[in-house]
């Protein structure tokens, strides 16, 4: 009851932090998709790239998030603004599921379909855009979904370096030993994650090839 009271009373700030949170997650996801899909395509088409690309993405994933935020802090330009830094860190974390699923999706396309396409004289570009990507789309999207859900959670930590978002409430609550405040950050973050999961899951099902 107290929590609802608090959320209502501070709805402006809740809204502002939620939007900040969405901004961090949204931009970093877009960047991860823009970088990750080409890298996934590269690893699927040229096996030499497979190990270095997926290996690097894997290693990034193992760095503790708080440490990564801290490492990036002294970097010039980036360190100037906390949100830039948070976006970069979130992008790096989101890369692995996007790359891995793009790779898996493209490798999973029926070889007979690819061979028929090549044999009929599709250019590599036509093969990629008309056959491989459309058929891999639902798998790629499920990677994006994982990336978004993980990012929504991770973005709360961005508040530790002053990048804003719903983590503000959580860290303030921790400092003040105020459970209500912690929940005021945690619950909207959880709702965001669930909504993103549900929405992207629905899209993924719609796009799954028969």
């Amino acid at each position: 009851m107290n929590l609802i009271h608090f959320l209502l009373q501070n709805h402006e700030q809740v809204l502002e932090l939620t939007l900040e949170h969405l901004w961090l997650v949204g931009i970093s996801t877009v960047l991860a998709v823009l970088v990750g899909i080409p890298l996934g395509i590269m690893s699927a088409h040229w096996p030499v790239w497979n190990k270095p690309v997926l290996g690097t993405a894997n290693i990034i994933q193992t760095i503790p998030s708080l440490a990564l935020f801290g490492f990036l802090l002294p970097v010039p330009w980036l360190g100037d603004r906390a949100d830039r830094l948070a976006i970069l860190a979130l992008t790096l974390y989101a890369l692995l599921p996007v790359i891995r699923n793009t790779y898996t999706g493209i490798r999973g396309v029926d070889p007979a379909v690819v061979e028929a396409g090549r044999g009929m004289g599709l250019t590599p570009r036509q093969l990629l855009f008309q056959v491989e990507l459309p058929l891999a789309l639902s798998v790629i999207l499920s990677g994006v979904r994982v990336a978004v859900v993980v990012s929504v959670g991770l973005a709360t930590i961005a508040a530790a370096i002053g990048a804003g978002g719903l983590g503000e409430f959580i860290f303030r609550g921790l400092a003040m030993v105020n459970n209500q405040l912690i929940l005021a950050g945690a619950i909207p973050a959880a709702v965001l994650a669930l909504l993103a999961d549900f929405g992207l899951g629905w899209l993924e099902k719609r796009l799954r090839p028969r």
């Binding site: 029926d110 007979a112 379909v113 690819v114 061979e115 028929a116 396409g117 090549r118 044999g119 009929m120 004289g121 599709l122 250019t123 036509q126 008309q130 056959v131 459309p134 058929l135 090839p209 028969r210």
Partner: protein, 260 residues
């Protein structure tokens, strides 16, 4: 670009060898000519090099040595995409695009060749009829078709841009016996009308004898002999005789029970 010459073989293998990157030879010393309008069968068991030979024609594979000539010019010259679009290609697994309707699958090459929508539509109708499919199947997806229907669509797709050459890799191999029989019969009547130059891969002697103008027998990456179906039946070649023997035993129930 490749010029079409009316004389000489349409396809010619000149001393072609193909070796895998790991050093394993799949094909050696292949010399073979395919004449205009004939159906040349590549007969052999798995690993004999028949599919490899086929893929060397449309440059899905590149020979390690020697050259393959198409319409009198080495197929290594000129644009590989143009080459492939001028050759129809049908494979056992069909390889229809699962996210395209039948209509779009058949119209694929015409579309990327920039035909007008009306012309493509007209061509698709014509082809559906030609391969014995009802016009109302045009809007279906491949997963809604039977195996026989899918393979008919595969043939229609290969014929779409009216290529003079057709490569077929065990196109009827995955079908049940009755459907296969029907499609073979239709292939013969279609071929009589269209007169394409066909290279047809199979391991089935019955199919080879039925459809082929000539049969090229391959074994372990080498061409053993090239014979007409009539000569094949009379051949003294040990491998050809072995094929015939196995084929006739298959027809004799007593042989199968060891009673002969």
């Amino acid at each position: 670009m490749r010029q079409t010459s009316d004389y000489g073989p349409v396809i010619e293998f000149r001393d072609v060898a193909y070796v895998l990157p790991n050093g394993q030879p799949l094909l050696a010393g292949l010399n073979l000519q395919v004449q205009r309008g004939e159906t040349l069968i590549l007969l052999g068991r798995s690993g004999s090099g028949k599919t490899t030979s086929l893929k060397l024609i449309n440059r899905l594979l590149i020979p390690t040595s020697g050259e393959v000539r198409v319409n009198g010019a080495p197929n290594a010259e000129g644009d590989v995409i143009r080459l492939r679009r001028s050759i129809g290609y049908v494979i056992q697994d069909v390889g229809l695009f699962p996210h395209y309707t039948v209509e779009r699958n058949i119209g694929l090459v015409p579309r990327i060749e920039g035909w007008t929508v009306e012309r493509i539509q007209q061509r698709v109708e014509e082809l559906l009829q030609m391969v014995g499919l009802e016009a109302n199947l045009a809007s279906r997806y491949p997963h809604q078709l039977s195996g026989g229907q899918r393979q008919r669509v595969g043939v229609a797709r290969a014929l779409a841009a009216d290529p003079a050459i057709l490569l077929m890799d065990e196109p009827f191999g995955a079908l049940d016996a009755l459907t296969r029989d029907q499609l073979q019969r239709e292939f013969l009547s279609l071929q009589q009308r269209l007169g394409k130059t066909v290279v047809f891969v199979t391991h089935d002697l019955r199919e080879a004898l039925r459809l082929g103008s000539r049969i090229a027998l391959l074994e372990a990456g080498r061409l053993v002999t090239v014979l007409s179906p009539e000569d094949f039946l009379r051949s003294k070649d040990p491998l050809a005789a072995a094929y015939l023997h196995a084929f006739r035993d298959g027809l004799d129930p007593a042989a199968n029970r060891g009673a002969s």
